[in-house]
């Protein structure tokens, strides 16, 4: 398996589709022939470098998405989200990295540490690529609405779509013997999602500029933070409507 070239037939572990040249950019492979990523991970040669390329891709893509969201709050927020969004993604991945390794091993797919790192980076890069694809949609709404709850819901929805595509990408790796058992990675995506939501809360605000520094002080759970966003909006609406009633002749 390790020395396969263009013309050699696919191994029994693969699903018989045409092989992709090894020299092809890893990001292109991730986009166009996701099933080949399994072979690359199993091969192990030069895996760490490929993982770093994917991590860099993920960071750039998340940065672009951050810029698109940032337009909701103005240029200062654009600059902040350019850094914050990739930071949220990469910090969440590193916090969840031990669980990815252990979950895959316990589920019966004993990956090495480098293979696990590559798998994690591929997942994050896949999420990033999807986010870049949907960044124009977010930008359009960011510049044309002033409702934070709407932006929160839209961003969450788009991020969930990206995560589901990433989970689907891992599901497609099952053609390779190493990824036959997927219970561990399914569970891991759930952990990654929860941690990312909490990381977003930790780095809040994402849609407006903080009063001081680069993030709001204080500790909060993500459910409390997200619900307070909606409560704040409801309160503001109530005040506005009561002022409107008062101002009537």
């Amino acid at each position: 398996m390790s020395d396969r070239s263009n013309n050699t037939p696919c191994p029994p572990g693969s699903d018989g589709r045409e092989d992709v040249p090894v020299t092809e950019n890893i990001v292109t492979v991730l986009l166009k022939s996701t099933h080949q990523v399994g072979d690359i991970i199993a091969r192990q040669a030069g895996l760490f470098n490929s993982a770093l390329v994917l991590l860099a891709t993920a960071l750039v893509c998340h940065g672009v998405f951050g810029v698109a969201i940032g337009f909701f709050g103005g240029w200062q927020v654009v600059a902040m989200d350019l850094v914050k969004v990739p930071l949220v993604a990469v910090c969440s991945l590193f916090i969840c990295f031990p669980s990815l390794y252990v979950f895959t091993c316990v589920a019966g797919a004993p990956l090495t540490l480098v293979q696990t790192f590559m798998l994690g980076c591929s997942c994050l890069a896949m999420i990033g690529l999807l986010l870049v694809g949907l960044a124009p949609v977010v930008w359009l709404f960011a510049v044309s609405t002033d409702s934070p709850p709407f932006m929160v819901i839209l961003t969450l929805l788009i991020w969930l779509i990206a995560v589901s595509f990433s989970a689907r990408f891992v599901a497609r790796l099952k053609s390779h013997a190493l990824f036959k058992k997927r219970t561990g990675t399914r569970l891991w995506f759930f952990i990654l999602m929860i941690v990312t939501l909490q990381m977003t809360t930790f780095m809040r605000p994402m849609l407006s500029a903080p009063d001081k520094g680069w993030r709001s002080p204080g500790k909060k759970f993500f459910l409390s933070h997200f619900s307070s966003t909606f409560e704040h909006k409801a309160r503001t609406d109530l005040i506005k409507s009561s002022e409107h009633i008062k101002s009537r002749p």
């Binding site: 669980s99 316990v106 204080g218 500790k219 909060k220 759970f221 409390s224």
Partner: protein
């Protein structure tokens, strides 16, 4: 067999085979036991870390006692039920199987320590109103319950698969598993009741054990306080 905890993580079948062929001696249990104690201590320190460093230290000592104590108390029962059901397991093998399951659970706990620590550092306010503190306490409690449940499920799944590998084919594995699980849960709940607090409440002072730890038992509490409260709709 060298490094049993790592073997259990990456190549469990080799461990079950060694156990089936009776290649493991009592000295081999030291590795999993030390691993369980270390992981429980680390997780225990994180579990109570939000309340105070003192409680963190207490729980780092108490959590290994809870896990190992429960294993010790149910060990003879496990061996007797295994013999009664015709599993053809030695006392040593029953202890090894339980330790193996606990080691798997501890791997899950260890892998989620960064997650628990992050939630602790980013989600638990140091000060706030009673409502805010209660909310934060419940949130961190839920986080730990989810983590420990994941560890428990993984450990028990490993236990079930392990039993299928090592017991005599005449023995009913689901029945044996159910006996062992029930005994473990029954004793574990009472042990945790005696050794409480683990997470710690923002409204109680820090203590190694509650003064009334031996006054009642876990099941009395459930049947006289929790169930009536739930039946009455929280009134």
């Amino acid at each position: 067999m060298k490094n049993i905890p790592l073997t259990l993580l990456r190549d469990r079948d080799r461990f079950w085979e060694a156990l089936r062929l009776q290649e493991l001696g009592w000295q081999d249990i030291l590795g999993p036991a030390v691993f369980v104690v270390c992981v429980c201590s680390v997780y225990g320190a994180v579990l109570a870390g939000w309340r105070s460093p003192l409680l963190s230290l207490y729980v780092a000592l108490k959590l290994p006692v809870l896990f190992l104590g429960t294993i010790v108390i149910v060990a003879v029962f496990n061996w007797i039920t295994a013999s009664f059901l015709g599993a053809d397991l030695s006392f040593r093998a029953t202890v090894f199987v339980v330790f193996a399951a606990m080691t798997i659970g501890c791997w899950i706990m260890l892998s989620l320590v960064p997650v628990a620590l992050f939630f602790l550092l980013s989600g638990m306010p140091d000060v706030g109103t009673n409502e805010e503190l209660r909310y934060a306490h419940n949130a961190i409690l839920t986080t730990h319950i989810v983590i420990l449940a994941l560890a428990g499920i993984a450990g028990n799944a490993a236990l079930f698969k392990g039993l299928r590998h090592v017991v005599n084919h005449r023995c009913s594995v689901p029945v044996l598993f159910l006996f062992w699980l029930s005994a473990f849960a029954f004793v574990g709940c009472q042990m945790s009741w005696i050794l409480r607090p683990f997470v710690g409440s923002p409204f109680y002072s820090v203590a190694f054990m509650r003064p009334d730890c031996l006054d009642r038992n876990f099941y009395e509490f459930v049947f006289t306080e929790v169930l009536p409260f739930l039946i009455m709709g929280g009134r």
